[in-house]
Symmetry: C4
Subunit: 213 residues, 4 copies
């Protein structure tokens, strides 16, 4: 038992390092989003009017920011149960981070084309963002399933109930974001708002007990 | 008592992680500001003249940098008293970070439109920056009130005097930045300079004792 | 022996700090890549068509992201054996980081010129990216050789077998990326795909044992 | 003695946090520099020619990267002796970070105007970069003098010899960068190269003993 603890220390350090790197990527990805809101041209009107005309850019910014914030929370929930990492986990986590930083691109599409475009452009932009969220939700499931399969990367006495709860909650992700994706083809605005509401719901819906965080 | 310490260790780790993520967002948001100062066109004059004509961009950069620096200091003061976090606190902190990264946008407006624009543009840009600061000051109050309400997220023996002092100081924030906001409609330049002076005053006005930091 | 441990503690702290700074640079460099994928103009077609026409930008993004991810993994493998740092190591590491952040430039070239350009442009862009990877692979060898020469920066009882394995593996890097560089002059597409496959292979090819990470 | 250690722990934590925030700003500032090298237009020639014509951008990038790297090393040397922080130190450090992130702007000027401009543009751009370095060197002195004055922020048994050495070395900074600034008005190219050489010299000139780092 003493030996196990000794042998776990460096592994723990490795997960901490991977988590710090991932946190850095999340923090940068979430902060870069603001660069998508461009200074509007005046076009003869007042600056206040120009800013108001940009409301879709603010909406897209808010939805993308909240979505990445929730992904970051999910990522930490996941790492709370991980005690070891191997190369495959490292690469799967890398693919997840790639998808998270990719969110910036569909957000940029939305920011640019959300207003003054015809319906197909609007629909495609929202659907692309939703599809990116579906992909990320799937990658979270792959990463988690890889880690918990036969307790591969869990600690010596994993909390089975908590692990099961996470497995079930993660399965919901692709389904719910999938609904938002389908909705985009009927009403892009409703889809975008649903994505925002989902982020807020997931954010506040976690157990409220402070010790459970 | 030993058990309490044991049970606090992971919570402490969680606050540390949230703080590290927040620090990352603050560091990126404050560094991205420099991208708003664009290389000036020469327009037939010398480069030195072109740089000097950009002075409002430098002023906006300085005010925004100092403001985010003070927000970062405030954020740490707040976290010094937090011992636990829950989901609602996490989301409220996320909204605060969203507002902090948003500062980049009104700074970009100011940088672009501070010179050579008519008065309404100038007024709107300064008022927008001030309004963002008011919003951030309000979010700091919400975050802090949520944490200290019934000692929700404080440690077992909170320093009541220090908590009260922070509660009172935070209340001043929206008021003072609100004055700067109102002032923008009378004199944008005075409002901008007031914002800069406030940041410097708040920065140096903390207790000078090294142990109090 | 006790004294050695005592004297190692601050050195360990120094390596940790250098590693944290390096991790920050890697995290930012890998996240900035997404800024190279620009919002496409519509040119009269649908947004979906405009996005599809951008496929080379997505390919370049994927290859560059995976390549920097593998470099980050390599960097950590290297630091696992380093116990001390000196000024020369610090500067060599700085040159390596400079080359890693530089990857953004050839990626931007590729993103812009991969489609609709004549063959020489396409070839030059891919060759430039490959050449950057060769340079980085060489810098990894220089950094590692400097550290292990006469056990300069290793701990008191270095794992000789592991050190030898890394020395051999690192030597392969410039060779393999050199092949991709030569290939660029015959088939840029094949060269780019080879670079992507190499990253995936190196990523998953590490020992699969979790304790070996 | 036990009590002193106990009371130092939180202060130590504060300096660590300030250092981590500063490291984040340094890491972002140094990585953003690459964004200044823009994808060149082809203008009818080959891409290789277009890249070669950009050599001054690469030179400016290299000089600025090395300069910020050395500033980061200096910052750490300074913090090795700091045991406490107060508000004034925090603000002075913030001003230093503002100047460090500002380096991006004169670097952008250089990247844009180093070639194809007449001599006054070239001179102004190089002089502006040098002047920024002089300012940063002065801010390092102010920060350090503030910390060591009457041992204000040093530990209980400061290493007087090391403190004196740093005080003397820091005084050299404004002088040497001042020479580069004056030189810019006679030969911008020589000034720029001198700045690069200074960074390399300072980088490698530290004591080579690994334990001295």
């Amino acid at each position: 038992m003493d030996m196990r603890e000794a042998s776990e220390a460096p592994a723990k350090k490795e997960t901490g390092r991977l988590e710090a790197f991932s946190d850095g990527v999340f923090a940068i990805a979430i902060t870069l989003l603001i660069l998508n809101i461009e200074v509007p041209p005046l076009d003869g009107g007042t600056l206040a009017e120009a800013i108001l005309r940009q409301w879709p850019a603010f909406l897209a910014y808010g939805v993308a920011f909240l979505a990445i914030l929730i992904m970051w929370v999910n990522h930490h929930t996941l790492f709370r149960h991980i005690r070891r990492i191997d190369r495959a986990f490292l690469m799967l986590n890398g693919l997840l981070l790639m998808a998270v930083t990719f969110v910036n691109y569909p957000t940029a599409l939305l920011t640019r084309y959300l207003v003054g475009s015809d319906n197909q452009v609007y629909t495609t932009a929202v659907a692309f963002l939703s599809a990116t969220f579906v992909l990320i939700a799937i990658l979270f499931n792959v990463l988690w399933r890889y880690a918990v399969y036969h307790d591969r990367l869990l600690g010596p006495n994993p909390n089975r109930a908590a692990v099961e709860t996470i497995s079930r909650q993660y399965l919901l992700g692709p389904l719910i974001y999938g609904v938002a994706l389908v909705l985009a083809f009927f009403s892009p605005a409703a889809s975008l708002i649903l994505n925002g509401l989902l982020a807020i719901y997931f954010g506040f819906a976690g157990r409220s007990s402070a010790t459970e965080m």
